[in-house]
């Protein structure tokens, strides 16, 4: 009986300590500041990005919808390949807008949520589905791009190939 009590007490202490230690754990270092906004992406630039993204999707036989927005989230260019699932329009838009408005890829929010930061769900316009990234040229964010229709990894590959066309 006494032994059991002791064991329970030790277990409790461990749990309390653990929690306490967790609470006091110094936060991970703050990420470097996001690049500033530049002048909004032009139609010419957007077409270049979209063409590269579409080529990447076709090469892999993926059906994708791709949205390209200005820093303020306004749509500049959109395409949806034949037979892409209907949900892809809204998902691609949400990813592009989130990337532009929060100046970070949607995977940053995915990581944050995986780490347990559930407050992220309170951010209006936040999207945590892989496949959205800011479009950065000369160190400035000129817009965001979002792709949807494939798996998260496929969507990421499509938008990455798209933005690479501006470099």
């Amino acid at each position: 009986m006494r032994r059991m009590f002791l064991m329970t007490a030790v277990a409790c202490a461990a749990v309390l300590f653990g929690l306490n230690a967790h609470a006091q754990q110094p936060g991970s270092p703050a990420p470097p500041p996001a690049p500033p906004y530049g002048s909004p992406i032009t139609l010419e630039q957007a077409k270049k990005v979209a063409a590269a993204a579409e080529a990447e999707a076709r090469k892999n036989n993926w059906t994708e919808a791709v949205a390209i927005v200005e820093p303020n989230g306004q749509l500049v260019y959109f395409f949806k390949m034949d037979l892409t699932q209907y949900a892809a329009f809204n998902v691609a838009m949400d990813k592009a807008i989130s990337s532009a408005l929060f100046r970070r890829p949607t995977t940053a929010f995915e990581a944050g949520i995986r780490a347990g930061n559930l407050y992220l769900f309170n951010l209006r316009g936040m999207n945590a589905v892989p496949g959205g990234i800011p479009i950065v040229v000369d160190g400035k964010i000129i817009g965001g791009i979002g792709a949807s229709g494939g798996s998260g990894d496929q969507d990421v590959q499509v938008v990455t190939a798209g933005v690479a066309a501006l470099k």
Binding site: V76, Y77, F78, F79, K80, M81, D82, F89
Partner: protein, 171 residues
Amino acid sequence: MRNLSFAALTLCVAVAFGTAAYAQQPPAAAPPPPPPPAYGPPVTIEQAKKVVAAAIIEAKKTGYSFTFAVVDPSGDLVYFEKMDGAPTSSNDIGIGKAWTAATFKRPSKAFFDAMETGHSFFGQLHPRVTASAGGIPLVVDGKIVGAIGVSGGANGLMDNVAAQVGADALK
């Protein structure tokens, strides 16, 4: 005095009669337009690009900056281009015109004309109705495959010219 009463009575009768006649007037018996084409398969990305490429060439002649939206029969966006400097309102308006033309199977100008001639009930058929010219159904092989919507010009009629050129590109 009697004369005056008589005149007033006559006037009243005339008004009453007039009103009654107006109320009983049968509605104008305009024959309904021929039924619109059936819906076909959704516009392809290749067709959509062709439509916008034609429309943008025409639109650029005006010096204005436009948006171009192509939607499928259900009004879902398939293709979109915004020219640099287009009015920020034109995103929603252009897509709204295309949506209106596709889902009602008629040019958005039909709603403009109806509203302008006093049929304001058209304005409350659906909150997304965009009663301005510039949205035109896309017809391929006699079937509606979607619609194009253009916005950003001086007025709907300017938008409509570019939209029509785009729609004609599929003929």
